[in-house]
């Protein structure tokens, strides 16, 4: 009997082990980025449109993965000659050893037929030959360049979602900004990579500080009207302006909370103070009560429980934080000239524009900074590159879009949140005050 038990012991133990999977690992030395190879997709049909569609698809996919900031993309010159279009064509040893030395491989095929295009895409862990597949997707849409662009964005977002730890990619997000290219300052929008720039408002006055709502359906901004600066509201559901109360005085810099409330600066009682209203403009509440101008509120995007804003109550503008009910006021910056705070999606960081040395004989420059809200430790993100202002976080918390004068005119730029990988998005006219959508 005992001997029988010994015979079965391994089986009993393995069954117990299978019930609970253990993973062991650790963190000490730095982690390198994933080496990702993106093989060009192959045509799966003999349609004449394939070549143009494939070029769009491959370029967009490559750019999205490159912009994600979490991959080390393997240069295409290292790729083996035989690039796969199907799982059966993957030659593991050609990809997982130098020169490509990739740990992940994205590949697939695209085929147009009768006005429709079908894309099959896979993501393989090429260092794990036994169970390589991480992702397999199929998309079908009209065979147009725009549709293929969207498919490439979606597939890139899927890869980023899996390998980036559950944070959705930003390939389908939008950026709203102010542009003067038509002569007056109007609100414009574009894809996150600068493509598809289109005008939103046609008011013919001056419109500033666009802020998109968390669900992406409404855009709040401030604009000059007959009664002065007022908060305006544009609906993307209706594609037109919708009514919003006029408060009188100067109403500037709206900001959405995650629950859909709007905070803004209003001088209806004499001095510019921070107010909060519902999305419809009702239930107005005043949060600050002092003489110094309080402007540019921004909500803690994760909790909605705190607001950071700029106040000039002690002279030069400084950044303050408070609870969403106006209590627990704390000054965050200790010197210089600090404006344009923006709260990160994980609620942990503030980014803002700061002239740390300000005054005669101290030639400071407007640079962007990142501050850990809890510890108040900060990092400088831009260096020696003109005036930089209006930083805004991307929804994945990995990118920051901002306005910079480094090219000679004010344009929209993006960078990774550590200050690297700076890219210019707009080139035409004067473009300012970018705002990244919430998803």
């Amino acid at each position: 009997m005992k001997r029988l038990l010994y015979w079965f012991l391994p089986f009993i133990l393995s069954a117990a082990g299978a019930a609970q999977d253990w993973v062991r690992g650790g963190t000490g030395l730095g982690v390198e980025r994933v080496r990702l190879a993106t093989s060009d997709f192959k045509p799966s049909t003999a349609d004449a449109n394939n070549a143009a569609l494939l070029k769009t698809f491959n370029d967009v996919l490559w750019n999205d993965l490159d912009n994600a900031g979490i991959f080390d993309l393997v240069s295409k010159s290292f790729y083996p000659l035989q690039e796969p279009g199907q799982p059966s064509e993957v030659n593991f040893s050609a990809w997982n050893s130098p020169p490509p030395n990739a740990s992940m491989l994205a590949f697939g095929n695209l085929g147009a037929a009768a006005g429709k295009v079908t894309v099959q895409g896979w993501l393989y862990d090429v260092k794990n030959e036994k169970s390589p597949q991480v992702l397999g997707k199929q998309y079908t849409d009209n065979a147009t360049s725009d549709a293929v662009r969207v498919i490439a964005h979606r597939f890139a977002d899927e890869i980023i979602f899996r390998l980036g730890g559950g944070i959705a990619g930003i390939a389908e997000t939008k950026i709203y900004f102010v542009s003067k290219r038509t002569g007056s300052k109007e609100i414009w929008m574009m894809d996150y990579d600068g493509a598809n720039q289109q005008q939103v408002t046609h008011l013919g006055t001056i419109s500033l500080s666009p802020r998109i709502s968390p669900d992406g359906s409404r855009l709040a901004f401030s604009s000059i009207t007959k009664s002065g600066w007022e908060i305006m509201m544009y609906s993307f559901d209706l594609n037109r302006m919708v009514s919003f109360p006029r408060f009188g005085g100067m109403n500037l810099s709206p900001s959405w909370s995650p629950e859909g409330k709007v905070a803004f600066s209003s001088s209806r009682n004499g001095y510019p103070n921070i107010f909060v209203v519902d999305a419809s403009g009702g239930n107005s509440r005043r949060l600050t009560n002092d003489q110094g101008p309080d402007i540019a509120p921004t909500w803690n995007r994760k909790t909605g429980g705190q607001i950071a804003f700029v106040s000039g109550r002690t002279g030069l503008p400084q950044i303050y934080t408070m609870e969403a009910d106006g209590t627990n006021l704390q000054r965050v910056t200790d010197q210089g000239y600090a404006v344009s705070p923006n709260w990160s999606p994980n609620g942990q960081f503030l980014t803002f524009s700061w002239m740390r040395k300000y005054g005669p004989g101290e030639p400071g420059s407007n640079d962007l900074y990142l501050m850990d809200v809890a510890s108040k430790q900060w990092v400088q993100l831009t260096h020696d590159a003109g005036r930089n202002d209006f930083p805004c976080w991307s929804p994945d918390g990995r990118h920051i879009v901002f306005q910079s004068h480094r090219s000679g005119t004010d344009e929209i730029w993006t960078m990774l949140a550590d200050g690297s990988n700076v890219k210019q998005l707009t080139f035409k006219g004067e473009n300012t005050q970018p705002n990244w959508s919430w998803k």
Binding site: S14, D21, G25, T27, K127, G164, G165
Partner: protein, 262 residues
């Protein structure tokens, strides 16, 4: 009454056996002495001088079970590492040196005693053998490190340690590694600490990817380091959903953190 016999009155004859016994003893002693003097003396080799030529039963080193984690802990209570607590050397107290009474006529001033400032380093735990890069050392920890660092397969393999999640979904383990690294704020650790022992956490990753049941399995001895590791996990909302073709509803993770400013 005649049946009663007096056993004490029966005297056996002991002379013969005694003589035999004496003879044998003397003979044996003589044999031993003679053997030692002549036979061994002739050979001239003692014990352990080698050259015996006989084989000894030897155990191969590789089959000797190595200790799991050769980290010394100062915790004298029972821990998972077996019996590696280190006895503290007794501190020998020096007699305070007599301070000379200042002479009135003496011109030299007394030196003020060195002030102990608050920033002075507190007595640190004894520096121990570094466990930062236990490359090539025995034990599962170093094996793990070398596997993850070498990146030959990118997979973590633990024969008999419960499931093959690490092998099948090596990419997910890598995601955990990346995410923990990104969220571990080392400035939360006491700045006076330059090096510390490994801190081990255990936690679960649920089906939807969020970490749960975060616990310190083995402390580093530095509270702020333990705390920073726990906070790193608390900051993480999700590691991303577990792979869709994985059947379990959670995985258990043991994760270590190495801290060094050197």
């Amino acid at each position: 009454m005649a049946a009663i016999t007096d056993i004490y009155s029966e005297h056996g004859q002991l002379r013969r056996p005694l003589a035999w016994s004496l003879g044998l003893h003397v003979g044996f002693t003589a044999f031993v002495v003679l053997y030692a003097v002549f036979i061994n003396g002739v050979r001239g080799t003692g014990w352990g001088s080698g050259g015996g030529g006989d084989a000894m039963g030897a155990t191969l080193v590789s089959s000797v079970p190595l200790p799991a984690n050769p980290t010394e802990t100062q915790n004298v209570l029972a821990t998972e590492s077996k019996g590696l607590s280190k006895s503290q050397p007794t501190v020998q107290e020096k007699e305070p040196e007599a301070i000379p009474i200042p002479d009135k006529n003496a011109k030299t001033r007394m030196k003020p005693a060195p002030v102990k400032s608050a920033t002075q380093r507190k007595p640190q735990p004894e520096p121990e053998e570094s466990n930062q890069i236990p490359y090539g050392e025995g034990g599962p920890v170093s094996k793990l490190y070398s596997m993850s660092a070498g990146g030959a397969t990118g997979a973590f393999e633990f024969p008999g340690s419960g499931g093959d999640f690490g092998t099948r979904y090596a990419w997910y383990v890598r995601v955990i590694q990346q995410k923990v690294q990104d969220n571990w704020m080392k400035y939360e650790v006491d700045p006076r600490i330059t090096e510390a022992r490994r801190v081990y956490l255990v936690f679960d990753v649920m089906r939807d990817g969020h970490p749960a049941n975060v616990q310190v399995e083995q402390s580093s001895g530095v509270p702020s380091l333990d705390q920073s590791a726990v906070r790193a996990l608390q900051r993480i909302d999700t590691f991303g959903p577990l792979p869709s073709d994985y059947s379990g509803n959670k995985i258990s993770v043991e994760w270590w953190f190495d801290y060094s400013k050197k």
